[in-house]
């Protein structure tokens, strides 16, 4: 469980996050949605401690990040997995070495134990025989899956994904979404995903936080997002005709 209270963040005097309060539950896929520039990435990077913020607090299971000592921060970070927007695989390492990297850094596992664990998670993301490839030899979708494998290899308690399926074809995107959701449930991880993809919202949005201009404009789930009258949400969601139709069908179906 991650609790965020009154988070403020500005760059050069311009406020990007204007006081966000919300919480993300364990074992659930939490989505942060909003238009480009609404502050999703900045919010996620604050959660990760990559950005300092002026005001507010972020608590991981009650541990307030800004009050932790350097050692405690390091321990907390070993519990975090992150999938970056561009995968951010280490391009001098093979796929298997990328996946084993967190184990090498933070555990006392032997080489063969690490290899076994990497095998396991690479199978989990449907990449059973890509070990020896370099990241540059893998497709975008494969890279995303390797990034997910690397993020979960050390059994994180928290998983963050910045637009995990942007730039992927719809089918691969859904495979990745479902993969993240399954992993979240299976290992009881607190997962936070940035997205502006309505497909993902409908597939895996167990909790949805809608950001607009640095404020939380709405909060709900994939069940409630089609019922809300909140104007900024409907503007965002129904910018595509397809979803107007989906909404109609959805409401009829559930009436």
């Amino acid at each position: 469980m991650i609790e965020v209270k009154n988070l403020h963040k500005s760059f050069n005097g311009i406020e990007v996050l204007k006081g966000i309060t919300t919480s993300f539950e364990k074992g659930k896929t939490n989505l942060i949605i909003g238009q480009s520039g609404s502050g999703k990435t900045v919010f996620l990077k604050c959660l990760l401690g990559l950005f300092n913020y002026e005001e507010g607090s972020i608590a991981y299971e009650g541990r307030i990040f800004s009050q932790l000592s350097e050692d405690q921060k390091r321990n907390l970070r070993a519990e975090i997995g992150m999938v970056f927007q561009g995968s951010a695989l280490f391009d001098s390492l093979t796929i298997a070495q990328n996946v084993m990297f967190p184990l090498k850094m933070f555990t006392k596992m032997s080489q063969s134990e690490m290899e076994d664990r990497a095998d396991l998670v690479l199978k989990r993301v449907n990449l059973p025989d890509a070990h020896k490839k370099m990241p540059s030899e893998a497709s975008g979708g494969m890279q995303k899956r390797v990034a997910i494998a690397r993020a979960i290899v050390n059994k994180p308690k928290y998983l963050f994904c910045d637009e995990p399926n942007s730039g992927l074809d719809p089918k691969t995107a859904i495979v990745i979404d479902n993969l993240i959701q399954e992993i979240t449930e299976e290992y009881q991880i607190t997962t936070v995903i940035n997205s502006h993809d309505m497909n993902s919202v409908m597939e895996i949005g167990e909790k949805i936080v809608f950001l607009k201009d640095g404020l939380k404009a709405w909060e709900g789930s994939k069940e409630t997002i089609f019922r809300t009258d909140n104007e900024s949400v409907t503007n965002f969601v129904y910018s595509s005709n397809l979803f107007k139709k989906v909404r109609k069908m959805y409401i009829e179906e559930n009436e």
Binding site: L48, R74, N75
Partner: protein, 245 residues
């Protein structure tokens, strides 16, 4: 003002580099890889340049000594002095600012723009220690490469001398032994070591703190080369003034 800020950030980077060290088992492989990338792979070009520039220095000196009263062994003496004092430490380092420096800037810069550095930080790894420290350690071997350059420069002079018939090999060898001052060698290696540290850290600074995308990586490599050279030239002046005059 921004210059002062940059210099401040640079020294903070150096301090940060030693905090929270990476596991030795991992660091060891990083250092070995950087020795290979930065030192071993530069030996060829250092050897090539040193040998031929040594030859050229010899020819130039020989052609400029047309007074029959000046003894021939001075050719060897002049070559030795130029190669050891200036050519091998300074001139080679400027070339390395282009080769090693732009390699360091572009590899770290690429990691910055592709969020690989963020990925390290998120995992709780001190990315400066992980990226810059092994390069700094690898470059402590740089004086060995320069020693090879010195040797080959003087050897190149000897070969040029005997091919061109400017002096006998015996004269040349006599020349390189004349008035040998070991302090000069010490001075040359102090310089080399300082330049090695500049070669590791200034380009790393330009890569690590860059912003933007692929285009900016290229620009960062260029400014890294310019500033690394400027710093080397300035330090060369300061060290020479301090140690020799």
């Amino acid at each position: 003002m921004t210059y002062l800020q940059n210099i401040g950030t640079y020294f903070m980077m150096i301090g940060e580099m030693f905090r929270k060290p990476t596991r030795w088992s991992v660091m060891k492989t990083l250092i070995l890889k950087d020795i290979d990338d930065l030192i071993v792979s530069s030996l060829g070009i250092i050897a090539f340049i040193s040998f031929f520039v040594g030859g050229v220095i010899t020819i130039q000196t020989a052609l400029n000594i047309d007074n029959p009263l000046i003894p021939k062994y001075l050719i060897g003496f002049a070559t030795r002095q130029s190669v050891i004092l200036e050519f091998a430490p300074t001139f080679t380092s400027i070339i390395m600012a282009g080769k090693v420096g732009s390699f360091i800037t572009s590899s770290i810069g690429t990691m910055r723009v592709t969020e690989q550095i963020d990925a390290l930080e998120v995992m709780g790894i001190n990315s400066l220690n992980y990226l810059v420290f092994p390069k700094t350690i690898a470059l402590t071997l740089y004086p060995f490469a320069i020693a090879i350059g010195m040797f080959l420069g003087i050897l190149g002079g000897m070969v040029a001398c005997s091919i061109g018939g400017y002096a006998t090999v015996d004269d040349y060898i006599l020349g390189i032994q004349t008035d040998f001052d070991s302090f000069h060698v010490f001075y040359a290696f102090v310089k080399t070591f300082v330049f090695a540290m500049v070669l590791a850290t200034v380009p790393a600074y330009y890569g690590y703190y860059m912003k933007g995308g692929a285009l900016e990586v290229g620009k960062a490599s260029t400014s890294s080369f310019v500033w690394t050279s400027v710093v080397i030239i300035l330090l060369n002046y300061i060290l020479t003034d301090m140690m020799l005059s």
